[in-house]
């Protein structure tokens, strides 16, 4: 009996109209599932430097190893493909989402789906237990993701079908397009799906997922409910109340994140965020929180604005408006909803519009360069025009849909100079100049989006972001510093502005995130336990607890060290994919800007990244990883220790393996 996992992989070839299944590989289970399992499948099914627009490129959907086992907070799915949005390098791209899709896939009897080939005409995939069909999508092609879901449910006549779709943007191979499920999306991979002419993957399952010890699963769930209740009573972590957490979520980033003033390289002359939020009376339109499968602690506030409609409004969408200097939150809510429906990434689009506004404001571009659209700071019209033009590839949007680099080339050298990007993707708003650890994560990140490789969860600031803000309570600060010393040997590892100890803290965060993403655990439920420390979330759980839960569901013995080893393995596999496709030490870097232009104002005024110290952090990072410091390539001995000899052999064949460390250095 297979416990926890569903035990099967579904293979679909859209060119040959062929569907088959195979057992979910036993060896792959050391990568758990979800993100790790997908990485393993990607490694097997992709070729060196494959284009996302290659018929044979794999598109992989996976369920977290523990999704649908009944463990609270295990619900996440993962999509992995050759990244269309990293226009410089392509290679590995992935995105994780919560909600209901992954559990439904498990109930249908599959851990993952590998989709290859390209359909002749638009199709969607319908999975209902053992019945798998490639269906005609002519009636839904061109529709938004909202309507697509409704139409598919209507066609199948089942309200419980869970749908992951692309919108018009994905169909039009827009590199900023996303795969959307239930308002969730993220790092854009939609074009990879659009190229396959695959509109949706609709799943429905009515089978059981077997668990090793159902009584224990229930017991651990009760413990978790209890812990979260207590944390809520103490108001630990991020307050979540009546949707108002939406804006707090966006601004309480570490100790610097006092509403609207958190450190970001992206904007200056900030609007009064707090005032704008309060004046928007958005709270009046809060409906309720909705969440994910099997989690009674919903964290996704649903708003319904008259004349606009309903959408989830949380996290990133609540703070991108400021970098466009937009203070009309009604307009930004409308834009968020529109992008979700069209299937495009609000982070990419907002950052691009912010870039164009910077250029426009400095007189580097004019309206005539951009089809007559004036990119005045704060202009919602400019934003809406960009969204529409990119999604439907009109005018400058057609160029922009091939990535911001393509547009920058057309607009000229200033546009290129102003564009801060990572392999062609725009960057998060973090103030990398004041956060060396987060900068290192961004540089190392395989997918080119540092959210999965960042120290921002383990960060406190050396000084508050605002004079009238007292900062975190002293006892919490002390606890955080003590934790840092214990974990990484120095208090500095947790202080945002320091270099010391950062590589170790980053590895801790990266491996931990890989575990959560691969088990399908919510990152709210499993993030490192450090009650009261900044960035710690409600329901913080130790990895020990996570390991216990894993064992209860799967019957596989596990402890904290075992989970971290799995995390390390997953990070090594992702590195191997990147290295196979050309990654090396010199490419693990950030835009020159962060090393050259000091922060002009605010509490961190004058700071920028120090190249020498940054390179030293890299030395330390590679050494701690057991990689070659000179090249950033992996070593056979490291991969062998992690049980990855097959990966090591293939890298060797491709001459992408570092030489073993000479004896004297040991």
């Amino acid at each position: 009996m297979v416990y926890g996992w569903a035990g099967r992989t579904l293979n679909v070839d859209l060119s040959k109209d062929k569907i088959s299944t195979e057992p979910w590989n036993e060896a792959a289970k050391m990568y758990l599932g979800g993100r790790g399992g997908n990485a393993w499948l990607f490694w097997r099914h992709s070729r060196v430097n494959q284009s996302p627009f290659d018929d044979d490129a794999p598109l992989i959907f996976g369920a977290g190893a523990l999704a649908a086992t009944g463990l609270i907070g295990a619900s996440r799915m993962e999509v992995t493909a050759v990244s269309p949005s990293k226009t410089e390098t392509h290679s590995y791209g992935n995105v994780g989402m919560g909600s209901f899709w992954a559990p439904e896939l498990k109930f249908a009897g599959y851990d993952n789906i590998v989709i290859k080939g390209r359909a002749e005409k638009p199709v969607y995939l319908y999975v209902y237990n053992d019945e798998v069909e490639i269906r005609d999508a002519k009636d839904i092609w061109g529709k938004g993701t909202f309507e697509t879901e409704a139409l598919i449910r209507e066609e199948i006549d089942d309200e419980d079908v869970q749908v992951a779709s692309i919108g018009p943007a994905g169909e039009n191979l827009v590199v900023q397009s996303t795969v959307e499920h239930n308002y969730r999306s993220g790092t854009p991979l939609g074009a990879a799906m659009g190229y396959k002419r695959l509109k949706s993957v609709a799943v429905r399952g009515t089978n059981p997922v077997e668990v090793h010890d159902p009584e224990r699963v229930l017991e651990l769930n009760r413990q978790l409910v209890d812990k979260v209740r207590k944390a809520k009573a103490l108001n630990v972590g991020i307050p979540r109340d009546k949707g108002m957490d939406a804006y707090l979520q966006g601004f309480l980033v570490g100790d610097a994140g006092v509403v609207g003033d958190y450190e970001s390289h992206e904007w200056r002359e900030r609007p009064n965020v707090k005032k704008a939020y309060e004046e928007s009376s958005l709270g009046d339109y809060y409906v309720k929180d909705i969440g994910c499968f099997g989690c009674p602690f919903p964290c996704q506030p649903l708003f319904d604005l008259p004349g606009i409609g309903a959408c989830i409004w949380r996290c990133y969408p609540t703070y991108w408006p400021w970098k466009l200097w937009m203070t009309d939150l009604r307009e930004s809510f409308k834009a968020t909803r529109m992008m979700s429906d069209l299937g495009m990434d609000n982070k990419e689009i907002a950052t691009i519009v912010s870039w164009l506004m910077h250029l426009y404001s400095d007189g580097k571009v004019t309206a005539s360069d951009l089809d007559g659209v004036a990119f005045e700071k704060g202009s919602s019209e400019a934003l809406f025009e960009t969204i529409r033009k990119v999604a439907y590839r009109e005018g400058f949007g057609d160029t922009l849909a091939d990535g911001p680099l393509a547009l920058a080339k057309k607009l000229g050298p200033s546009a290129m100079e102003y564009l801060k990007h990572n392999q062609g993707m725009t960057m998060r708003t973090f103030e990398f100049r004041a956060e060396p650890g987060t900068a290192l994560g961004e540089a190392i990140s395989e997918r080119g989006n540092s959210l999965r490789a960042t120290t921002y969860h383990v960060v406190i600031w050396d000084k508050p972001a605002r004079d009238d803000y007292t900062g975190m309570p002293p006892e919490e600060r002390e606890a955080a510093l003590a934790w840092s010393k214990e974990m990484f040997g120095t208090e500095k590892a947790i202080i945002a502005t320091e270099y010391e100890g950062k590589p170790a803290a980053l590895i801790y965060e990266m491996d931990g995130a890989a575990v959560a993403d691969s088990l399908g655990y919510c990152v709210t439920m499993i993030r490192p336990s450090r009650v009261g420390a900044p960035g710690s979330q409600i329901g913080d759980m130790s990895y020990e607890f996570a390991a216990e839960r894993f064992t209860a569901a799967t019957g596989v013995p596990m402890d904290e060290a075992g989970l971290f080893e799995a995390g390390e393995r997953i990070c090594n596999l992702e590195r191997a994919i990147a290295v196979r496709d050309g990654r090396s030490r010199e490419k693990d870097t950030l835009h020159e800007y962060f090393f050259k232009v000091p922060i002009p104002d605010g509490p961190q005024k004058g700071r920028m990244l120090d190249r020498e110290k940054f390179e030293k952090m890299k030395d330390e990072y590679y050494a701690l990883r057991g990689w070659d410091v000179k090249t950033g390539l992996q070593r056979a001995s490291t991969l062998k220790r992690l049980g990855m000899k097959d990966v090591s052999d293939q890298l060797k064949k491709a001459s992408k393996l570092a030489k073993e460390k000479p004896e004297k250095e040991e």
């Binding site: 109930f107 409704a150 309200e159 059981p208 668990v211 229930l218 929180d289 099997g294 009674p296 919903p298």
Partner: protein, 165 residues
């Protein structure tokens, strides 16, 4: 005092924790299809998301019990739950037709009727419902609980009136 599972549909967030808990406890795996409580979704993305937990209400006049041609359903004297006898049930589905709220279903594995038996007086599902869309309440407290919940808005109205006058 007998207790019942009270449903407050306005509070349901559609997470299906109750379905999982029911199946883990009663069939030993994670399987919403065999859960005795089901969350019915009414949603249109971009417009509305409503969820209704549906579960046997242990009727005062249990039509399932009345309708059963083989007398397979009996009331548990202690908990007040209508309980299906697995040995007696022949799977004729008459009870599923008779029930006015869809509280009895056919188990797709055993092919006999299955319905909530209140877990012998300790229902598992309610333990995880943080929003309290379902709760296990004594019958003599049900009435005031409902009235209190529904009158809460009036209480807010009083505050408003007082602030005006």
């Amino acid at each position: 005092m007998e207790k019942v599972i009270q449903v407050d549909i306005e509070k349901c967030i559609g997470c299906r924790s109750c379905e999982v808990a029911c199946s883990l406890k009663n069939v030993g795996n994670s399987n919403p299809t065999r859960s005795k409580i089901r969350v019915i979704r009414y949603e249109k993305r971009g417009e509305f998301h409503n969820y209704v937990p549906m579960i046997c209400q242990q009727c005062s006049t249990p039509l399932c019990l009345e309708a059963c041609p083989v007398n397979a359903i009996a009331k548990n004297a202690e908990t007040g739950a209508m309980v299906v006898s697995e040995q007696t049930c022949v799977g004729c589905k008459v009870c599923t037709v008779a029930c006015p709220i869809g509280g009895v279903s056919m188990d797709p594995v055993t092919n006999i009727a299955f319905k909530c038996d209140l877990c012998d007086g300790d229902p598992e599902c309610v333990k995880y419902c943080e929003p309290k869309a379902i709760s296990y309440v004594a019958k003599d407290k049900l009435d005031l609980r409902t009235k209190r919940a529904k009158s809460k808005r009036f209480s807010e109205l009083f505050n408003l009136m007082q602030s005006i006058y």
